[in-house]
Structure formats: C-alpha cells, structure tokens
C-alpha cells in the first residue's frame, strides 16, 4: 500500500458533518483515517502542506457525456475522467447516449472497465431507460445495475411516452435507483435552437419556450407521486420549473433536480452574434430564471449542480447557429464558474456550494464520496479559492474546447484531487510540468 498522506493545515469543509475548521486530514490505505487539528504524521507518511486551500470531499458530477463509445474524437472516458480530476471532481456519472447506446450490461461493463483503466475520477455509468433510447421498450435495468449502473436516463432525449416514464419509475423501485429525465416536450421544442424570447425574435432564431420544459417537469412530478419512484430532473432552466419543484418538495415527493453552472450564470444574451458556444439544450434563459435557479439552489429546492459536460468537435460548432449541435464542456470550469458567480456573488456560502456539488449529488445517486468521515474512501479535493485564473480552452484536459467561458476570469479551482487516496490531479505538478 502507498504511504499514508497527511494534508496539513487546510480549511476543512465537510458539509456531511457540518464541519468547517482549520484541520489536518490523514489518509491511509485509500481511506480517510482521521480529520482534526494538529494530527501528527505517522511514520513514513508523506506530508502535503495545503494551507490556504479548502479541503473538501471531492466534487461529484451526476451528469456528463463522455462520448465513448462512438465519438472518441470528441472525448474518451480517459480524457473525460482526466478533465474531471482537473476540475476537482472525484466522481462523475456518464450518460448513456453513446454510440451504440449504453442500454445493456455489456455496454455498462465496458464503461466501468475503461474508467478503471484510466484511473482518474471514478466514472459511474448511467444506463438507458429504453432500448436504443428509442422510447419504446424498457432496457434491462437489473442487469445494468448488476454491471455497475447507478441510475437510468434517456438524456439527450426526453421520455416522450408518459406510459414509459411511469413504468420506468415503477420498475426502477426494485433497484432503488433514480430515473433521470431530460424534460422537454418535443412538439413544443421542435426546430428550436435557443430560448423563446426577445433575443430569439431579434436574431430570427426559432425559440424553445419555457413551457416545453415545465410541462414535462409537471408530468414527471405527477408520475413520481403516482408510482412512488425516484425521479431526478436534469438541468432545470426555468423559474416555472423551480416553482413546480418547490411544490413537489413541500409535498414530500421523491423528486430531485440538478442545475448547471451555465444556467446559473448566463442568459439568452450570450447567443448574440450567433455564438454557437452559447447553444445548449435546455437553452440559456432570462435573468429572472437565473435568479430563481440561484434561490432554488440555496433553498435546496434544486438539490445539486451538475455540469452536463457535452464535448463537441471544434468544427461542429463552427457553423450557422441552426446547424451547430447543442452543448458545452463544463468539467474544468464548473467549480470556478460556480464559486465566482454564486459564492463571490453572495448567493451561497462555500460550505453550501460544496454541499450542492459533492455531498448531496453523492447521496442522490447513492455514490461513495461526498464526505470526509473517517472510514470513507479518500475522495478529496483541495480547492484554491484565492487565486484568479483565466479560462484558456486550449489548456483543457478535455478533448473538446466548446465553452462559452473562454477568456473569462474566474476564482476557484482544484489544487489537488485525490481518488481513493491517490493523487489524480496536482495543479502544482501540472504548472511545473
């Protein structure tokens, strides 16, 4: 086994135990051995001075697209997991809209094997809800869970059939996994490329109304109530969705939701001049939506932040707005954007942000991590929240560069990322290398 590692002198923030104090973290045999002030280094231990950083449970992203198998030119499980580590993530959940679709135990097993081979952040597969994501026949949830799937989703596409969504929620109860839905009523969104509002009107682009999302949010909440299943709503973008979620939580339904850093920080105006790096689905909405989403995250009406990391080759985005694909990369900017916009912006405290980016997403998807409790796997991040940095997409570990945050000055990034006690990202080493 590797030598014990002592992270010395950091500000330890562990929302799972309401901990926020200057302390040391001792890691031994891949697990958290002790957390406390003035821990001595055992014989043979490596000591790492992490003064000035925030030591927290590793960030957890329940919504990424890693493109393997099928589009390895855009991302692979290895490059995605490396990008995750650089972003401070110790675990990510890979959506199944690969090619072929991850809709069976063999495909799920492939992702598990590739992630073990890569050895950066943990990659947990999400299986498809329906065979081929065609929205008709249920995929084999049981076998996929047996192979390592932690949830099911047809993300990229909505579950159009309410009957299918109902049976998915019912059937998933046996395995106690969340059913994650991309909420979009396709007859309302068809042909749309950005938020339906004044900017779309001016640019002459077809809009996607807020109601296209909200109709499906409302439906899924009703089906969660009907079935007792666990529904997880992906990347909410509208204030109307927030209101529906608020009522669902008040009634104690088993509904959880996520929001992306970009929906928390950008509006439809980012699409000006037809910037295809601002084209994503759901689209960037209005300032009032951003405000409602921030409030919802603070209140816990929205449970967690997820990046919806969606790599695309550079030339795919080099097209007329109508023709460019939806989606942006997010793993390497998620924490910086969230810290700068939400913590420095006064919407959340740092412990609240760690709660929403680590502890809660781990709980919702039933993953190890999200805590520094002794005995837990040593999935840890040391975050530098003092130094500003400028987003340079050319330096991403991700294979893709499609970000609307290029050139943006941010505060907050991972200094050190550990998975099971092993260093998977070290900004100091990267800077020297």
């Amino acid at each position: 086994m590797a030598a014990p590692l002592l992270l010395q002198g950091g500000r330890v923030v562990d929302p799972s135990r309401d901990l926020d104090e200057t302390a040391d973290v001792l890691i031994q045999d891949g697990r958290i051995a002790a957390v406390g002030p003035g821990l001595g280094a055992p014989a043979g231990a490596t000591v790492r001075d992490v003064r000035g950083t925030v030591v927290a449970p590793g960030l957890v992203d329940v919504h990424v697209h890693l493109r393997e198998p099928g589009n390895e030119d855009e991302e692979t499980i290895a490059t995605g997991a490396r990008a995750a580590a650089a972003g401070g993530f110790t675990a990510v959940c890979a959506m199944p809209n690969t090619d072929p679709v991850t809709d069976n135990q063999a495909a799920v097993g492939f992702i598990v094997r590739q992630s073990l081979r890569a050895g950066f952040a943990r990659v947990y597969p999400i299986g498809a809800i329906s065979v081929g994501q065609r929205g008709q026949q249920l995929a084999e949830f049981g076998e996929m869970v047996g192979a390592g799937a932690v949830a099911v989703s047809d993300d990229g596409k909505p579950v159009v059939s309410s009957h299918l969504m109902r049976t998915a929620l019912e059937y998933a109860r046996t395995f106690d996994i969340p059913v994650a839905d991309h909420c979009e009523e396709p007859s309302l969104s068809a042909g749309g490329v950005m938020h339906e509002g004044l900017v779309a009107t001016r640019l002459g682009l077809k809009g996607i109304p807020a109601a296209a999302e909200e109709i499906m949010v409302a439906r899924d909440i009703l089906l969660a109530e009907l079935t007792g299943g666990r529904v997880h709503l992906c990347h909410l973008s509208t204030r109307g969705s927030v209101e529906l979620m608020r009522r669902a939580k008040e009634r104690g339904l088993r509904v959880t939701a996520e929001v992306t850093p970009h929906h928390l920080s950008l509006t439809e105006t980012a699409c000006e001049r037809y910037d295809t790096h601002a084209k994503m689905n759901p689209p960037l909405r209005e300032a009032a939506d951003v405000a409602a989403l921030r409030q919802a995250l603070q209140d816990g009406v929205i449970d967690c932040v997820a990046s919806d990391h969606a790599p695309h080759a550079y030339d795919e985005k080099e097209a007329a707005f109508d023709d460019a694909p939806f989606g942006i990369v997010g793993l390497e900017t998620a924490f910086g954007v969230a810290y700068t916009e939400l913590v420095q912006g006064g919407a959340l405290t740092l412990p609240q942000l760690i709660l929403r980016m680590s502890t809660v997403p781990a709980q919702v998807f039933g993953l190890a991590g999200g805590t520094l409790r002794p005995g837990a796997p040593a999935d840890v991040v040391a975050l530098d929240v003092t130094a500003g940095w400028s987003v340079d997409a050319a330096r991403f570990h991700s294979k893709s560069r499609n970000t609307p945050f290029a050139g943006r000055s941010l505060t907050g990034r991972a200094a050190l990322t550990l998975v099971a006690g092993k260093i998977v990202h070290d900004a100091r080493a990267a800077a020297e290398g």
């Binding site: 009107t201 002459g204 037809y274 097209a319 007329a320 109508d322 023709d323």
Partner: protein, 323 residues
C-alpha cells in the same frame, strides 16, 4: 473598409439613422442610371462580386446582379440550392474558398439566420446580406423605405403596418429596424400564431385585425404568406387566411385616408393580397422593384468605399480599397 457603413451590411439593427439616410440619399442619383440608354457607370470596375445564393431567389438575385453590372463589377453567380452537403459545412468551407480567391464582395442569401454574419466574421471581403433565415433582409427594407419616401415625401411620422407572417419574416424585422430608426410609427398585424415573442419590445404596436390596420395606417406592407405555414399548423387554411387577413378592395374602401400598399414579393394573389389591390391605384409594388436596383447599387458602392458625394450622377469611380 469604409467608415460610411462598416465592412458588411448584415442588417439594419446595427445601422444608425444617419447611415440609413446615407444609403437612401446615395440611391437617388443611381436611379437615373437605370433610365439611361446605356445603363452602366464605371464605379466598381475591376471589382469582383460573388452572388452566393443558398436559397432560391429570383427577384433579389436579379436585382443584385443588375446593380452590380450597372456599376461595372465582374460577377459570378453561385446557386447552391438543394445541395446534399450539410449546410454548415458548406458555409465554412465556402468562406475559406472565397477568401482564397480574393473576392472583393459577397452577396449571400441563406436559409439559416446568422449565416451572413458568420461569413462576414470569417472573410476580409465585404459581405452583403441578401436575406438570412428569419433574421434580416436589409436591402429589401431599404428599398421599402426609399419607396415610402418617394411616395409620401418623408418617413418620419408615417404610419406603416406590416401585415402577415411576422414570425418567419426577415423582411418584417429589417423593416421594423429601419422604420423605427427613421421615426416612422410601426405596427404589425397578423394571426397571433405567426407573431414572434416580445415583438412589442422592438417599439411596434400589435394590431389584432386587418381592418384596424387599414383604419390606422398610411402604408400597408403586405408580407408573403408561405404555403408551408399552413402545413406546419400555424393557420388552418389559406382560404380562411384570405377571409380574415386578406388585403382586399372591399376592406381598402373603408380606409379613412389615402393608403399606399406595398408587397416585397413574390405575391400569392388571393391569399394575402387581392389581385385588384396589387394591380390597383394603391399599389407601389413595381416601384419597389425599380428602387431595389438603385438601393443595391448604393449599398455596393458605399461598401466598396465609394464617396457619397461622388455618387451624384455616378461619375465617381473613386472607389478605394475594400478593406
């Protein structure tokens, strides 16, 4: 690059009122060129212009071509309609190829909003938007403005109502920008299923019924209703559209004042407009076509660096460099 208009003409949204007036004023002397026996001036001699039409067009393409030829430019027409190649790929590759061939100007028509901007951002040549998706069709609005000014002697204070499918209309958007910048009062009228979100915030009034538009307006600009809109379920039938929104002789008879009727063409007679109106005394539809050539000459001349004051009688081949 000229300070008069900038490198490209993408839309009227980004032009100042003075720039719009400059184009209209520059068009005046060019009108005369088309009335001469020898319809040619040397203003753009030696310039190469590509007319790049990714979408079918007869009127606009021919109008641009006449404008270019009457300014003595060398022109090439590229029609890329129905290409099996993906639109986006075609556009970026086209941009690179044009750049490599050292073209002076590109006139582009494309089905995607933003295509002209996309091209303009990637090549040094001047780019003129001849219609991009549902975004803008600036030269159409400029010729509409010139026609209104010819007919009514002014634009400021004139009440103009755009009638029809506002949602999908680039002509409507360009007209709204141009008219409001020059001080006209602007209204839009059409089925609400064809009205874009937030249109009032552009400074226009929404009128519910065509009768209200006729009662209110000095000028009706009647937009073409594309037949696909019915198939896409925006309206129940062309027959009902004509019944409810058609600009007919009977309706015009109730106008409280002299009313000018415009149409950007091509017309669907008996759908958005009654033939008797199109061919009748209210109509300035053919004047619009005539003005189209002069306005496009003015735009090309100014973008090429032509001096506005020399456009008079078009004696000035004083075109500077293009960038």
């Amino acid at each position: 690059m000229t300070a008069a208009l900038g490198k490209d003409l993408i839309g009227l949204e980004r032009l100042s009122p003075d720039q719009i007036r400059l184009i209209l004023d520059t068009a005046e002397p060019f009108k005369e060129v088309s009335e001469r026996p020898i319809k040619k001036v040397p203003a753009l001699r030696g310039k190469t212009i590509v007319n790049l039409f990714f979408e079918a067009s007869t009127r606009t393409r021919i109008s641009f071509e006449f404008a270019e030829k009457r300014l003595s430019a060398d022109t090439v027409n590229v029609a890329a309609t129905g290409s099996a190649v993906q639109k986006g790929e075609t556009l970026v590759d086209t941009a690179k190829n044009l750049e490599a061939m050292r073209i002076d100007m590109v006139v582009i028509r494309h089905a995607s909003s933003g295509a002209a901007q996309f091209l303009g951002d990637r090549i040094r040549s001047n780019v003129v938007n001849a219609g991009d998706g549902k975004h803008e069709h600036p030269t159409q609005a400029l010729l509409d403005l010139l026609t209104i000014r010819d007919k009514l002697g002014r634009i400021e204070g004139v009440k103009v109502c755009l009638v029809g499918d506002i949602l999908h209309s680039r002509v409507a958007r360009s007209n709204i920008w141009g008219l409001t910048k020059l001080g006209a009062q602007v209204a839009v009228c059409g089925p609400h299923s064809l009205m874009p979100r937030g249109i009032e915030e552009l400074g226009v009034t929404v009128l519910r019924r065509v009768e209200e538009a006729i009662e209110w307006a000095d000028v009706l600009n009647v937009l073409r209703l594309q037949l696909e809109r019915m198939e896409a379920g925006f309206i129940p039938s062309l027959r009902e559209y004509y019944r409810v929104f058609g600009v007919t002789v009977e309706r015009l008879a109730k106008a409280p004042r002299a009313l000018t009727v415009m149409h950007p063409g091509p017309m669907n007679r008996g759908v958005e407009i009654d033939s008797r109106v199109a061919d009748g005394p209210h109509s300035v539809i053919l004047d619009q076509v005539t003005n189209g050539v002069a306005v496009r000459m003015a735009v090309l001349y100014l973008l090429a660096g032509g001096k506005p004051e020399l456009a008079d009688a078009a004696k000035g081949p004083a075109a500077g460099g293009t960038d």
